[in-house]
């Protein structure tokens, strides 16, 4: 019971928090909520299956672009629904063709996908619509953006929790460990991966759509910023991508660290960022949660003995 109650209380507190903080505090909350959502949604697919996707921004940017294109034509909820559907459809097409790629090939493919999406949208806008750069003028307050993102983040975590307990979650974990065993155990590899990929992509797309009113101006070069993909990956891995709370646990401190570094060391910020990454890889290779577990497990060394 406590496992459900505690997050609900936390969610309630986070919902009313904007009443007590400055605009900057709210900005920080939005940023943190966005990255918690992105990292969790990324981990929904990549965390269990170990398919490291760098396509996060392909979906995120598509979401922002969808809002930019449709915000004057459709009511806002319909725009969001469209964004989710477009993201899902894109993931379906991509997933059908690519989810058999393994290891580094998938990594590079997903990165190329983000670039291709950006190039194609640019070309389309230039040659077909003749406009590049679109405006989003919506009457949505910063708080509403925050609440939407909070809701999306909470929904992502709830969905992940549910998936983890479902057949889908078990199937994903088996796929992450050994696809051959998975197939011979009766798991439909393509369908399982595709479902998770599409779900994850829909959330990523929605996240891009929800934050987009904050930018006002949308251009492919702005919304398809590859850093978003990289940050998402490192955040999820820092916390532990195969655990429910891992990505969130990685996203919040990293987000705050970036914020601190870029405001206090605007010149040397990338240097510290680089060192931070390298530090994560060397010091917490399995994520913070796993690190915490090994630290606590040292008191009870029985698991060590069973190792050969």
């Amino acid at each position: 019971m406590i496992r459900i109650l505690l997050p609900l209380i936390g969610l309630a507190l986070l919902t009313v928090l904007p009443n007590y903080i400055s605009d900057y505090g709210l900005g920080l909350l939005i940023g943190a909520a966005t990255y918690v959502t992105l990292a969790s949604a990324w981990a929904l697919f990549s965390g269990q299956t170990h398919y490291i996707s760098l396509a996060t921004v392909a979906f995120y940017g598509t979401g922002a672009y969808t809002v930019a294109v449709l915000n004057e034509a459709l009511p806002y909820p319909a725009v969001l629904a469209c964004a989710a559907l477009i993201g899902g459809a894109m993931a379906l097409v991509v997933g059908l063709s690519t989810l058999r790629l393994q290891g580094v090939y998938f990594v590079i493919f997903s990165f190329g996908l983000a670039e291709l999406t950006r190039q194609l949208i640019t070309w389309y806008e230039v040659n077909v619509t003749g406009t590049l750069g679109r405006y989003i003028f919506l009457d949505i307050t910063t708080r509403q953006i925050y609440w939407q993102m909070l809701a999306l983040g909470a929904a992502t975590l709830a969905l992940t929790a549910w998936i983890n307990r479902s057949r889908l979650g078990l199937a994903l974990r088996v796929i992450g460990d050994d696809e051959t065993v998975a197939a011979h155990s009766g798991i439909n590899l393509a369908r399982t991966k595709l479902i998770a990929f599409v779900l994850s992509a829909m959330i990523l797309t929605l996240a891009g759509a929800i934050t987009s009113p904050r930018y006002v101006y949308v251009e492919p070069a702005i919304v398809f910023n590859p850093t978003v993909s990289f940050l998402t990956v490192i955040m999820a891995l820092l916390g532990g991508a195969n655990r429910l709370w891992g990505p969130a646990l990685g996203a919040v401190p990293l987000f705050l660290a970036f914020e601190y570094l870029s405001s206090n060391f605007p010149d040397t910020y990338p240097i510290f960022l680089g060192l931070l990454f390298i530090g994560v890889v060397f010091l917490v290779p399995n994520g913070l949660l796993a690190k915490l577990e090994t630290l606590t497990a040292r008191k009870a060394p029985q698991t060590k003995e069973a190792r050969t």
Binding site: S22, W123, N127, G130, Y217, E259, S262, N264, T268
Partner: protein, 405 residues
């Protein structure tokens, strides 16, 4: 607190580029004795290059000059030193928006200077309006400036729109064609992003109206590094005029490619980067006659003095397009503060209605926009001189055809 000494040590790592923040933060000035000015410009990421050329050096130069003169003068004649709060927006709008919120609500700075780039200025406009800060958007080229100025009444748009630059260029070319110097054919390439598209969309109807024929009209993606194919097509098109609505990497690349392949159009026009001080070096000393976007009145003593001070302070000359205007916007701010103080509403009203003495001459905004701008410049005798509008005070006559490379 060990935190402070570590911070100081880390900051010492950032040798030199700026130290305004460290410098002023160290000053033991009581609250209220300083004017806090904040900005969040790109230090890293794709926008860092543009910001590092046009925006940041001018901010630093201005703060330095004001503080050396004893600080900003207020209406009562008292002076207050400027204290800078600076963040890196990492070339990402989500970070930029948050940094502005931080400056406004956390640091409670007195004034906020705008970031570099059209998209960035648009992204912060609603926030600046919400918090009431005047926004002197300089590095934003947009045809929608009138619309934006009306939407956010404390925003000021100071670099014109794509149509203006396109029209200025067409005027120059039309005059040359009417004089029989060049033929009626134009080869034009444009970079596929908001800026390039704005310009080409303005240029197509303007060229058509002036009776030019666009014999080659292509768009290339941002990030293109090889222009050999593009330039050889343009060369083969039979046009006397080559026009590129380009960004610096493209402007430089096309210049070099044209030189190496011996492409000598009578008019060679490039956009951003053409007015950069490094351009003559890029063109291997053969920049003479190259046209580009922007320009300054190179004979004006105020501009010459500004160039000298900029060179002395930052170690390099400013670009001859948006730099001087950026600096002028800061002078406007300085003079407006002297007249009406730091109250945002009064400041905005003064900026909107007042007349200011700046490095680019006397400035008075029309409908919150700076319209008295140079659209086309040309390298002449080692300096980048404004050639259009030709009737504006200080304009040089364009040299067409351009001498061969």
């Amino acid at each position: 607190m060990t935190g402070i000494s570590r911070r100081a040590a880390l900051r010492a790592l950032s040798f030199g580029v700026t130290s305004t923040l460290a410098l002023t933060a160290g000053m033991a000035l009581a609250e209220g004795d300083t004017v806090k000015i904040g900005y969040a410009v790109a230090r890293t990421g794709p926008s860092a290059t543009g910001a590092g050329i046009t925006t940041i050096p001018n901010y630093e130069l201005w703060v330095d000059s004001v503080n050396k003169a004893g600080g900003l003068t207020l209406p009562d004649g008292s002076k207050k030193m400027i204290e800078v709060v600076e963040y890196d927006n990492r070339s990402a709008n989500q970070d930029l928006v948050r940094a502005i919120e931080r400056l406004a609500s956390q640091d409670k700075v007195d004034l906020i200077l705008p970031p570099w780039g059209t998209g960035a200025n648009l992204a912060i406009a609603p926030l600046m309006a919400k918090f009431g800060y005047p926004q002197l958007a300089v590095t934003a080229v947009t045809d929608k400036a009138p619309e934006f100025a009306a939407r956010w009444d404390r925003s000021f748009w100071m670099l014109g729109g794509g149509h203006d630059y396109a029209k200025g260029l067409v005027d120059v070319l039309a005059a040359a064609r009417d004089a029989g110097t060049i033929n009626g054919k134009v080869a034009v390439v444009s970079v596929a992003d908001g800026f390039g598209i704005d310009l080409i969309n303005g240029a197509r109807p303007a060229f058509e109206e002036a009776g030019f024929e666009l014999v080659y009209d292509k768009t290339y993606p941002l990030g293109t590094s090889d222009f050999a194919a593009l330039m050889s097509e343009a060369q083969g098109s039979g046009a006397d005029s080559f026009v590129a609505f380009s960004y610096p990497p493209g402007s430089f690349g096309m210049t070099k490619t044209a030189q190496s392949m011996g492409y000598n159009p009578k008019v060679f026009y490039i956009s951003v980067g053409g007015a950069f001080p490094i351009y003559p070096g890029v063109a291997d000393g053969k920049a003479e006659g190259v046209m580009a976007i922007g320009g300054v009145n190179a004979d004006s003593p105020a501009i010459q003095d500004y160039f000298a001070r900029h060179t002395e302070f930052t170690g390099k000359a400013p670009d001859s397009w948006a730099s001087a205007i950026t600096y002028a916007s800061l002078e406007m701010l300085e003079q407006a503060v002297e007249r009406v103080g730091l109250d945002h509403a009064a400041l905005a009203a003064e900026l909107s209605g007042g007349t200011f003495e700046t490095v680019i001459g006397e400035v008075k905004l029309e409908d919150n926009q700076l319209r008295d701008l140079w659209w086309v410049g040309q390298w002449q005798g080692g300096a980048f001189r404004a050639v259009n509008p030709g009737d504006k005070d200080g304009a040089s006559a364009p040299v067409i055809p351009k001498p061969e490379w």
